[in-house]
């Protein structure tokens, strides 16, 4: 749901008259359109424009004693928050993170101390609530200095749970999160959620793989499917299969996970389509580096890989991948030339 300041139902209660700005109420049920929008945006559809107007909102019928939670103005985020808050009465302060989710915006600092201070003032929160407490999502902490927020606004920051689904439990436990609520797991559900965009963003590589396959076929180096499937499949292995099955692949290094997946895929292709020595060697050299590069790139979507680790992988494996891939390209040309000459 993308709200503009003009939309939303007016609130006719006597208390509302004295509240600055008359905050709109967010519905806690998602409409059919919201649900479709949320699925499409995971595939990148109108992702940059999927924004909610930054402002203070109500959920239920909050009073001056009700808690204030802070979130980002990515509409997918706001929708998850309001759906998880059904039955609660609270204030929601939506920051302007340029339509980026809490975790990524915190990394950039747009979900941060300055923006919290700005929005607290703009919404005149000190006039709306009697307490001086903001519940900030824990994954926003990389952008927020709790002690600086206190200095700038007078509000205490309490870090809420990692997942909004735990908010009710957190509130019920007097705003204390247990260890489980504070821990990022990055399980299969989280991986399923981020894989579609991974695939959409690698469309150029997918297209290149398809073109390379078609070219082989056009020069009679291989039948159509035997030419195209290994290449397209390598991209899907790297962008979808290995990321989804991440813990099943050995090695901590993402490059090595990808190479393992790529060799597996190449062997499968050799078994599936008739291949002589040159074609088999082409699969084993061309495909694994492609898979490895895509899997390595998935470090950007995980919530447990450190930048120092990623830099270490670049340092260790860049030349290995370049040489491996270069041999693959040479064998690709050899295989193609052979088909063309025969």
């Amino acid at each position: 749901m993308v709200l503009s300041p003009q939309q939303g139902s007016p609130i006719f209660s006597p208390a509302a008259i004295t509240i600055p700005g008359d905050p709109q109420r967010l519905p806690t049920t998602l409409s059919c359109g919201d649900r479709i929008g949320n699925i499409l945006v995971r595939f990148g559809w109108r992702r940059r424009q999927y924004r909610t107007e930054p402002a203070l909102y109500r959920i239920g019928s909050p009073t001056p004693e009700s808690p204030v939670i802070v979130t980002a103005n990515y509409t997918l985020t706001v929708d998850m928050v309001r759906a998880a808050c059904a039955g609660l009465d609270l204030w929601v302060l939506v920051l302007d993170t340029r339509g980026i989710n809490v975790w990524c915006a915190a990394g950039k600092g747009t979900f941060g101390t300055g923006e919290i201070a700005r929005m607290v003032k703009e919404a005149r929160l000190d006039k709306i609530v009697k307490h001086r407490r903001l519940i900030v999502p824990q994954l926003g902490a990389p952008g927020v200095s709790a002690h600086h927020v206190k200095q700038l606004t007078g509000f205490d920051v309490v870090y809420g749970p990692v997942r909004i689904a735990d908010l009710k439990g957190f509130l019920a436990a007097d705003m204390r999160a247990n260890d489980d609520m504070r821990r990022v797991r990055f399980g299969i559900g989280d991986r399923v959620a981020v894989v579609p965009i991974e695939l959409v963003l690698s469309w150029r590589i997918l297209l290149a793989a398809f073109a390379a396959g078609v070219w082989l076929w056009a020069l009679h180096a291989a039948p159509f499917w035997a030419a195209v499937v290994p290449l397209i499949g390598a991209v899907l292995m790297g962008a979808v299969v290995v990321p989804l099955a991440l813990p099943l692949f050995p090695f901590r290094s993402f490059v090595l996970k990808g190479l393992a997946g790529g060799v597996l895929w190449a062997l499968l292709m050799i078994a599936l389509f008739p291949a002589d020595l040159i074609t088999a060697a082409r699969h084993l050299t061309l495909l694994p580096p492609v898979v490895a590069f895509l899997v390595f790139n998935f470090t950007g979507s995980t919530a447990f890989t450190s930048p120092s680790g990623v830099k270490e992988e670049i340092r260790r494996y860049t030349w290995l991948l370049i040489i491996w891939f270069a041999v693959g390209v040479i064998l690709y040309i050899v295989d193609m030339a052979r088909g063309w000459l025969s």
Partner: protein, 87 residues
Amino acid sequence: MRYLESVVTLKLDAEKCIGCGRCAEVCPHRVFAVTDRKAVMVDRGACMECGACQKNCPVEAIAVNAGVGCAYALIRSRISGKEACCG
């Protein structure tokens, strides 16, 4: 799941620490615990260098090279010489 642990840059200065517990509160990988009014690193290898602890430590007892953890951004920054950014 765990990642490369030997290169983690997280450092804690126990002298400066006042035991407020903010680091233990914000860390999504439960790297810190507070015992005897001092923070200790109980699982340093799990650190993903997000920088939340450093940012929320009121006495600057924590240092970490925090930043973008995405390979593509880091490769681009290495080639262009500019700072890494998710774009």
